[in-house]
């Protein structure tokens, strides 16, 4: 008779990472206390355990770091590109060597499953450094004219959803083009950036080229506003992105912004259904849906709605939520209590507005921040859950009748970061992709990333592209 195949716990060993009780700011090649002596704690969102105490950067620290970066800029930018390249290659290799350690660290600090940090985040981080390393001595051929010049000090503020990957997206092109960096990681996920500081040390990177300033929004704002910062790169919420755009108005600072999204994942009646279901799941439950390019709106052709929803619900019932360090976990913890509160309140609003809520049977751990995978059906464009970015494992299902209507609904948002198309009809893919106002369109796939592939949004999802040849432009005076 059939029996139950229970997967025994398969935890990745925590012993591969050694977290110190406290960390300083990384300025001019050294770990230092914050000027005001402030510290904050970083916790594991899966357990609420305190992982370490972190120096909290303030305005004076930002000034100190920018000065260090400014000072380092002259020599770093004058280095032959081939030499800068070799530093970046070293960094890429050290990341590969330490990838298990960094994956476990990232999982502890962020709450995302080890499966993702191991198989997605870390390989992409190393690949990104590897890719931009190769550009450092080829900038003359990048299509930006001969001998394009770096901008100076790049002030970079990154989010908590892909802490190390976003660091790589920011730092790798900045250094390859000859800029120096002051980077502020998110307050809930500072650890991997601080470990990266150690990687810079191992790689022998000159002092001051990379400075890491853990802290809160005030430190980020100070980085953005600092007069000696020549370039601002931000990934995070649209609200903060707008604030940054106001701050830099009237200056000569070059800005790139990667902001929010409300991606439409469009499933036509001739879609490869089983793969579409996987794509929907990957689109909204990857990283607990805390992804700016998440496919958070499912637009399904009305004629296959029931069939697709049945398949989707069955599939969601197989998702394994729990200990992020368990190698079989599909859904980890929400990154912070604050984020959990936001998700919860938006979901309650969805219910209050009459959308139908569904989750698979799913036991949530007692400590930590958790949210069960959730579907909303009977959703229209007018519902808050169809318009606001939830940034959590919550999918809103809408229907459409014709390709025109699908495109109109997909584009009916102030955002424009990502979209998905599922159909076996090639001409429809090309036609719909052409009409979608989104920076990244995945057809018959979703949430794929590559260092060679430009990423970034239309409209209120921000401007500028990261990745590929296009990603160089943000850091060159062109």
């Amino acid at each position: 008779m059939a029996s139950v195949f229970e997967y025994a716990p398969a935890p990745e060993s925590r012993a591969v990472v050694d977290i110190a009780p406290s960390y300083g700011l990384f300025i001019d090649g050294e770990f230092v206390e914050a000027a005001e002596g402030k510290v904050f704690k970083t916790v594991s969102p899966a357990t609420e355990e305190v992982l370490a105490e972190i120096a909290q950067a303030g305005e004076a620290d930002v000034d100190r770091a920018v000065k260090a970066a400014h000072k380092a800029f002259e020599k770093w930018s004058a280095l032959p590109g081939a030499e800068r390249a070799k530093y970046l290659f070293r960094i890429a290799r050290i990341i590969q060597e330490r990838s298990r350690e960094l994956a476990v660290l990232e999982t502890l600090d962020n709450g995302k499953p080890i499966k993702e940090t191991r198989d997605a985040d870390l390989p992409l981080v190393a690949a990104h450094f590897f890719y931009y390393a190769g550009w450092a001595d080829k900038l003359d051929h990048a299509g930006y004219g001969a001998n394009p010049r770096p901008l100076g000090v790049a002030g970079q503020v990154i989010p908590w959803n892909f802490p190390l990957l976003m660091l790589a997206w920011k730092i790798a092109p900045a250094l390859a083009t000859g800029n120096t960096v002051v980077l502020k990681p998110a307050e809930t996920t500072p650890l991997s950036a601080l470990f990266f500081a150690d990687i810079c040390r191992q790689a022998g990177l000159p002092k001051g080229v990379v400075n890491i300033l853990p802290g809160y929004g005030d430190a980020g704002a100070a980085v953005v506003a600092h007069p000696d910062v020549n370039k601002v790169a931000f990934t995070g919420s649209t609200a903060v992105g707008k604030e940054i755009a106001r701050t830099v108005a009237g200056t000569r600072k070059k800005v790139t912004l990667e902001l929010g999204g409300k991606g439409a994942n469009i499933v036509f009646d001739d879609a490869p259904i089983d793969q579409a279901v996987e794509g929907i799941v990957n689109g909204i439950f990857f990283n607990q849906g805390q992804v700016c390019c998440a496919g958070s709106r499912l637009l399904v052709q009305e004629s296959i709605q029931d069939e697709l929803l049945d398949s989707l619900k069955r599939r969601l019932s197989t998702l394994r939520l729990g200990d992020p360090l368990d190698k079989n976990t599909d859904i980890g913890a929400i990154n912070s209590e604050e984020q959990l509160t936001r998700i919860t309140s938006l979901v309650e609003q969805g219910e209050a507005e009459g959308a139908e809520r569904w989750s698979p049977a799913c036991e949530l751990p007692e400590s930590g921040y958790w949210f069960a995978p959730t579907l909303f059906t009977n959703v229209t464009q007018a519902h808050t859950v169809a318009r606001d970015e939830i940034f959590g494992p919550v999918l809103s299902v809408l229907t459409f009748r014709t390709p025109d209507e699908a495109v109109a609904k997909a584009n009916n948002t102030p955002y424009g970061l990502s979209a998905g198309i599922w159909t076996e009809k090639g001409s429809r893919i090309l036609a719909v992709a052409n009409k979608l106002r989104a920076g990244v369109v995945w057809s018959n796939t979703f949430n794929k990333f590559d260092p060679t592939s430009p990423f970034g949004g239309y409209k209120e999802s921000g401007f500028g592209r990261e990745g590929g040849r296009h990603g160089l432009e943000a850091y060159l005076d062109v």
Partner: protein, 297 residues
């Protein structure tokens, strides 16, 4: 020969392919460089700006969706029409900028040549800035530039025609539609350009020309939620900063004014004014399905 009394032209706005007066009913006096009266130009209001945005948005889908070849043909047609009305533009530019006939003629020649230059770019820019990306997986990955949408263009204040065309042509060559705020003190070449565009196969609404007080018109444009980008070429530093702050409300793409000492409209423009109003769209598609022939599917 008796002195014939000439017929004055009533200068009008160019919006949605039509030539309306300002909704406000206001005009302002345009003078030459010595202060002599040239014409009354419409003094556009915020409602004119609003109407122009509506027209530009309506025209966007068709213009962005036209083939690049077709856009090139139309832009070249604009150059042909300009060539035919050269004398008029030479006179207007000479009056506006206080130039001799020959200097003004040089400006107009350069302007027409610039149209031709941009006409040729329509079907080339995508190959220069887009292309396939060699991703590490079984995917076809293509990046293509696409127009950002409706662009508010503040034409340069001092270069009434060459400067104007240098900022308008790249915006529409790439498939955007434009709401152009003419030089405040020298709007006549811009308003006459509207007449040329109207007879050049350019669909109505692709370019809309407003004259008036730059700050008055630009302020609602910068704040308009259905404008995707703004070129601040014609704004001074104080206005530019205000407009950039307003533009942040819906994260418009902002092209800041060049520093005054770096402005040279006769220089090789490069491609920045085109790429500034282009979005890069990257499309992924799997490349499987060849079938099993030995080692893998």
């Amino acid at each position: 020969m008796s002195d014939r009394l000439s017929v004055f032209k009533t200068y009008k706005l160019y919006v949605g392919g039509k030539f309306p007066r300002s909704e406000s009913g206001r005009v302002y006096e345009v003078t030459d460089s010595k202060g002599s009266w040239l014409a009354n130009a419409p003094q556009s209001s915020r409602k004119d700006a609003r109407d122009a945005v509506v027209a530009a948005r309506k025209a966007f889908g068709g213009w962005a969706g036209a083939t690049a070849y077709n856009r090139g043909q139309i832009l070249y047609r604009v150059a042909e029409m300009l060539e035919g009305r050269k004398a008029q533009f030479v006179r207007e530019v000479a009056d506006a900028e206080g130039l001799s006939k020959s200097k003004a003629a040089e400006q107009v020649d350069a302007t027409i040549d610039r149209w031709v230059w941009y006409a040729g770019w329509t079907d080339k820019i995508a190959q220069v800035v887009g292309g396939g990306n060699p991703v590490a997986g079984p995917f076809f990955n293509l990046s293509s530039p696409e127009p950002t949408g409706v662009v508010a263009v503040l034409a340069p204040q001092d270069s009434s025609f060459l400067g104007l065309v240098s900022v308008v042509a790249p915006v529409i060559a790439t498939g955007n539609t434009a709401v152009v705020v003419a030089s405040e003190k020298s709007p006549l070449p811009a308003l006459s350009l509207g007449e040329v565009l109207a007879t050049s196969d350019l669909p109505g609404g692709v370019v809309n020309v407003l004259s008036g007080r730059t700050a008055e018109i630009a302020t609602p444009l910068a704040a308009h939620q259905d404008v995707n980008a703004i070129d601040l070429a014609g704004a001074d530093d104080v206005l530019a900063k205000e407009l950039e702050i307003a533009a942040a409300d819906n994260l418009k793409r902002v092209l800041r004014p060049q520093p005054v000492d770096e402005v040279d409209w006769s220089a090789d423009p490069g491609i920045d004014r085109m790429t500034g109003f282009l979005e890069t769209k990257t499309v992924w598609h799997p490349t499987g399905s060849l079938g099993a022939s030995g080692s893998s599917y």
